[in-house]
């Protein structure tokens, strides 16, 4: 059964038609990338899925239920990390549990565990601005998954990082999401980086220019971890480039 249905979504900002009509579905254990030219409303689409923005028309269903506002099961990772600069890293991560009625000690315990798991040990009491971009995004990820969400939405999570850092974080993210104690069962990531999409996802939703619609939904069957130099990998990359530019 589909875990998430995106049906006939449309959106405009004032007179500008941003999203024409977007429909796709996502199932359990999928990693879906949404890719498209800049200005095509990818990030807006992700926010609509998160329930942060209301679409002009169309609907988002999670487990068959309408998503109209943010939902405990759906979490979000921001491009610019969106860490509150005035809270320590651990306080930022604990924000992810604001909606949950659990004790402060329990929140602290969960957060500490997560810091350990994500290679952030020792940075609990530091402030976000003392960290490098890669570490900041780890904190952002920790905040997103501390509430054990089923769906993780990521808005260009690696694009604020330099290429080497992004590379390392990507493989960590893959490993983490595959580990059995993380209950995330669906990831939807917005990106403009074709290689990144092919490296991480098993489904790529390719969008057109504004006003955007779905050009193609491409399945990628390559085995993880994927070798970027393999013929199969290159073929997928070339194909997506072709669809994007035609």
């Amino acid at each position: 059964m589909d875990l998430l249905n995106v049906e006939n979504i449309g959106y405009s900002i004032g007179p500008v038609h941003v999203i024409e009509n977007i429909t796709f579905t996502a199932m359990k254990d999928e990693f879906v990338s949404i890719i498209g030219p800049s200005g095509c409303g990818k990030s807006t689409l992700l926010r609509i899925i998160a329930g942060l923005i209301k679409p002009l028309h169309g609907k988002v269903l999670y487990n068959g239920m309408l998503v109209e506002k943010p939902n405990r099961d759906i979490s979000f990772v921001f491009q610019d990390f969106a860490l509150l600069p005035w809270l320590t890293n651990i306080e930022n991560v604990k924000l992810g549990l604001s909606l949950f009625d659990i004790s402060e000690e329990e929140k602290e315990r969960k957060a500490k565990l997560l810091f350990k798991k994500m290679g952030l040990e020792g940075f609990e009491k530091a402030y976000p601005n003392m960290l490098s971009g890669g570490m900041k995004q780890r904190v952002g990820l920790a905040r997103a998954i501390i509430s054990d969400p089923k769906v993780l939405l990521m808005d260009e999570p690696f694009s604020s990082l330099d290429e080497l850092t992004a590379e390392a974080l990507r493989s960590d993210v893959i490993n983490m999401l595959r580990s059995p104690d993380i209950p995330v069962s669906l990831v939807i990531m917005v990106t403009h980086n074709v290689e990144e999409a092919v490296e991480l996802s098993n489904k790529v939703v390719i969008l057109s220019e504004r006003p955007s619609h779905v050009k193609e939904i491409k399945r990628i069957e390559l085995k993880y971890p994927r070798n970027k130099r393999s013929k199969g990998f290159m073929r997928e990359v070339d194909h997506i480039y072709k669809v994007l530019t035609e």
Binding site: R47, A50, L52, K69, P70, S75, F76, F78, D80, A82, L84, P85, W86, L87, E91, L95, G96, L97, S98, L99, Y127, N129, R143
Partner: protein, 516 residues
């Protein structure tokens, strides 16, 4: 009927003429001094710290002194007008200097190299690079200067009515005071309405077109935040004299895009050693001089008592201002969808000087117990509150959209949101606003105490606070006691500087690292 309206229009026009003269001079001076400070390292080291201190000093305290000196030098109508215009300039100039200075410091280095490659002379550099680059900020700062200047204009006109020697003949401040004192309340209200119409027309017909013109090529307009519309709107008056408690070595190198702490207050490199020694020696000399002379000692005691009384009023009003302005700002930043409309409304209200309402306030309270304190309190509150509100609201521009999304996404609400988000989001604005707001309160205190004590017009004392620094300054002017006046000003200046350094700058330093 039409006669008095015509008279009021003439009076307001005279006031506006003073304002335009002061503004023109301030812009010329601001360009000159700002460009000089930005292009010469040596000049920078001297000018910037001095301007920094001057802009946080409540200069109205010096008014009696200035008027005394200038009128003594140039007697008659010209002298008193020169004094008023001089005073308005002291309220308009500092932020324009900083606007020019920052514009040039922020210029891409390539522009300077370009000038060198093409061998531009000073005249060409000024006309092709420095002045055009500065004008957008100069215009932005000018609208702000105008609002502050109106306060000084009206206040100094009111001041002048207390004595025949120092009387400005035509002016809306004078006219309103006399109307209020003679009990012509309907005419007084008409006068205030005319004043407001002038304020709005100036904004629409003078500042708006000029700002549009000079912003055509403004590079800093190329920003991508969603807050842009807002920032643009706020720019003119919201960056109310943002206090540079310390100066811009900081403002230069650092990026401004994320959380620059209301971005203007910075940290000075530590070159304290000698300075501390000099301060300590000056302090010892000061104390020695006072203790060794009986008259000085008794003056000092009465000054300290007066300062303490005014201090208590100012800070009590500040506490009340916080109680009002913090929830209001949080509401407007985080919940209201009509922030820009409110800002526009506030800007208009804020540019009506609290002092112009003084006669009205006095007549409201005059029958109540403690009415003199109530009058003083109201004027302090009205004078200080806008600085603090605007400064907090201007923080909105530095709050990225994603923080609102985090709040929504993780369902951060109520007390939890106050503790984790709201308070922290407005604190930088609160601190910068507090410095300027309290300075404005001090300005008001000088006026309020002066007004209430000197029985403006016919010598009728309406209401009078029994003790305070404004009253003391006024008494010393009346008695021609220059020693007492200078000593009071010295004490006052030291107090302001000490509080800025010990309280506000420390607070700022503490949060600066976290926010940047």
């Amino acid at each position: 009927m039409f006669n008095y309206i015509l008279q009021l229009l003439v009076d307001t026009s005279f006031s506006w003429a003073r304002m335009f003269i002061a503004l023109a001079l301030s812009i010329l001076l601001g360009l000159g001094i700002g460009i000089w400070a930005a292009t010469s390292r040596r000049a920078e080291k001297v000018i910037i710290p001095i301007v920094d201190i001057l802009q946080t000093l409540p200069i109205l305290a010096f008014f009696p002194f200035v008027i005394y000196i200038i009128v003594a030098a140039i007697p008659g109508y010209i002298g008193i007008n020169a004094a008023v215009i001089f005073l308005i300039i002291t309220s308009m100039l500092w932020n324009i200097i900083f606007g020019v200075y920052e514009s040039i410091k922020e210029l891409p280095h390539e522009f300077i190299e370009l000038a060198a490659i093409y061998g531009m002379g000073l005249k060409e550099k000024l006309s092709k690079i420095y002045i055009p680059a500065s004008m957008p900020k100069v215009m932005g700062q000018s609208t702000l200067s105008w609002a502050i200047g109106l306060f000084y204009l009206v206040t100094s006109e009111i001041f002048s009515t207390s004595s025949k020697t120092y009387m400005v003949k035509h002016g809306i401040g004078v006219a309103l005071t006399q109307l209020a004192l003679s009990g012509n309340f309907s005419e007084y209200i008409v006068g205030i309405l005319i004043f407001i119409v002038f304020v709005i027309l100036t904004r629409l017909l003078f500042f708006a077109p000029l700002e549009r013109y000079f912003n055509k090529h403004n590079m800093s307009n190329i920003q991508k935040t969603r807050a842009i519309h807002f920032v643009h709107l706020m720019k003119p008056s919201l960056k109310l004299k943002i206090p540079k408690i310390n100066i811009p070595n900081f403002a230069l190198g650092k990026k401004r895009d994320t959380y620059s702490l209301s971005n203007e207050v910075g940290i000075k490199p530590k070159r304290r050693g000698y300075a501390n020694l000099i301060y300590a020696m000056l302090a010892i000399l000061f104390v020695a001089a006072i203790v060794s002379n009986k008259t000085l000692f008794s003056y000092e005691l009465s000054i300290l008592v007066a300062l303490l009384a005014s201090f208590a009023r100012v800070w009590f009003a500040f506490a009340i201002i916080l109680l009002i302005s913090v929830p209001l700002s949080v509401y407007l930043i985080f919940f209201s969808k009509r922030l820009s409309a409110y800002v526009l409304l506030f800007q208009i209200i804020a540019s009506i000087p609290a002092t112009i309402m003084l006669p009205l306030i006095v007549s409201l309270f005059v029958k109540m117990p403690f009415h003199s304190e109530a009058v003083a309190f109201s004027v302090y509150l009205l004078s200080g509150i806008w600085y603090i509100i605007f400064s907090m609201l201007s923080q909105k521009a530095y709050i990225p959209q994603s923080i609102y999304e985090v709040k929504k996404l993780f369902g951060i609400k109520g007390l939890h949101a106050w503790k984790k988000i709201y308070i922290y989001a407005i604190i930088p604005g609160l601190i910068t606003g507090a410095v300027t707001g309290i300075a404005a309160e001090w300005n008001a205190s000088i006026v309020a105490e002066y007004f209430t004590s000197s029985g403006i017009g016919n010598g009728a004392v309406l209401t009078s606070v029994s003790i305070g620094i404004g009253k003391l300054l006024d008494l010393s002017l009346d008695n021609g006691n220059m020693v007492l006046m200078l000593l009071a000003l010295l004490n006052f200046t030291i107090m302001i500087i000490v509080i800025n350094r010990l309280v506000w700058k420390r607070l700022f330093n503490r949060i600066e690292d976290i926010y940047k």
